[in-house]
Amino acid sequence: MLNNLKYVFKKYNFLLRQLVSRDFKVKYKRSVLGVLWSLLYPVLTMAVMAIVFTNVFKFSTPGVNYLVYLMSGLIIFNYFSEASNLAMSSVVANFSLINKVYMPKYIFPLSKCIFVGINFLLTLIPLYAIILLTGTGLNVYHLLLPYGYLCLFMFTLGFGLILSTVAVFLRDMFYIYGVVLTLWTYMTPIMYDIAIIDHPLLQSLLKCNPLYWFVYFSRRIILYGVVPELNAWIYCMVFGLGFLLLGVLIFKKNQDKFIYYV
């Protein structure tokens, strides 16, 4: 079993690399600014949001810098929305290949989550630039951040596997998920603090959102310079590992049927 897994991993590792590097080449080939866009894009989005929410809606986060607050949440949500979206369409988009040559089908959602993941790592550069420029400063607990990001990756991959399975059987999913994502943006405390919601039921409802915990985990470290509470550690892992297992299970159970829907 383990040997078999090792063999499959070794055999398809090269394909995985090729798929990821293909996405990179295609994405940056034609744009003059190239990779710089990956750095610039979240900064510009952040700037727009900051202007709208501080001036129009008068949002504020007492005690911490609002720009860092925004940015730390934004990069997490952006990762999730882009990776899950690409993962969803990845299987359908590669039907012509699946129909002709055998390869493990999970490789398509996985390669998308990795590709966006590398982009995510690039967006850490503007995040840290803003952390330093705003005087928020660094602390030793930043070393704990990879835990939260790893859980985010697992959650996104699991979710992407589920989405890509559903999308094979139900093409409406592409439209439905677009709406869901819009709703999800507002349900995740990216631009506001969850404390401003004074309805206790609604507040606990918002905490059922897995993304809340990944955002919360990283903000405790970046903004407040403390070790996240134990429940944050647990929720991150439960959502991350739980969705990954669920996604793998659902995908595995259905993948042999994909071919009939080509």
Binding site: K11, F14, L15, R17, Q18, L19, R22, K25, V26, K29, S96, L97, I98, N99, K100, V101, Y102, M103, F169, L170, R171, D172, D256, I259, Y260, Y261, V262
Partner: protein
């Protein structure tokens, strides 16, 4: 290795398709169907029923039969693209399907990048492609266009590149759905020769063709499939029976 070792074993393989499946099912379609009171009936279709045969190492086995007899489905099952509804397929060794040319290309990438991408899709290792890179380029005769995006290629150039990548390995089991010959006249001759030499080169080959002449020339063993059943298995004499059968159908 033993001489009489089996490379492919197909045992009681049946393949069922559900024709009721709506490809690209959408909610709109569902509402329309419900509104009209149309029920999704299950229309089943057995593309293959109870197929059994074995292929020995080094054997070239040809499949004949009318259109829609199930030949291509069978090859897909052997290649592992589809799982049989019933029965079992065992393959011993690397299986290389000659896929439709260029299916794995990304048209925004250059020829060089596509050689690696398409190679990876076919299951080759990086070392293998590195080693064979020059050979691929030489065969395709596209040396000067290596760093040009494939979208700027003519269809003939794309076919030449795809053919060169696809035929570079010496797989243990080769699956061929129609002999490919692509490009201009000169390249067509070259590519057909390459295919023939691959088939004749001691590998185990599963070969589908509508050209009875090619089957007769190449194959040691012939399987005649009709309506998903094995009609006859045997030597080249099957070809004559098949031709007679087809003539009978016409007359």
């Amino acid at each position: 290795m033993e001489q009489n070792q089996y490379m492919v074993e197909v045992e009681n393989v049946s393949m069922r398709f559900n024709l009721g499946i709506e490809k690209g099912f959408s909610l709109k379609q569902w509402f329309v169907d419900v509104g009209k009171g149309k029920k999704h009936e299950k229309k089943e279709f057995w593309a293959l029923t109870d197929l059994t045969f074995k292929v020995k190492k080094g054997e070239v086995i040809g499949f004949i039969g009318s259109n829609g007899a199930g030949k291509s489905t069978l090859l897909k099952v052997v290649a592992g693209v589809m799982k049989p509804t019933k029965g079992e397929v065992k393959t011993y060794g690397t299986v290389c399907p000659m896929i439709e040319l260029g299916a794995g290309f990304d048209y925004q990438l250059t020829a060089r990048e596509n050689i690696y991408l398409n190679g990876a899709i076919m299951g080759y290792s990086k070392e293998l492609i590195d080693r064979k890179f020059q050979e691929i380029v030489d065969f395709s005769e596209l040396q000067e266009f290596l760093d040009v995006p494939v979208q700027n290629f003519s269809s003939g150039m794309i076919a030449r590149l795809a053919f060169s990548v696809a035929t570079i390995v010496d797989p243990e089991i080769l699956i061929v759905d129609e002999i490919l010959s692509v490009g201009d006249m000169a390249f067509q001759a070259k590519s057909e020769n390459k295919m023939l030499s691959m088939i004749g080169g001691g590998t185990t080959v599963l070969f589908v063709s509508h050209s009875i002449e090619q089957i007769r020339k190449m194959c040691d063993k012939v399987v005649w499939i009709e309506h998903g059943h094995v009609q006859r298995i045997g030597g080249k004499e099957i070809c004559d029976e098949y031709i007679e059968f087809m003539n009978g159908k016409q007359g």
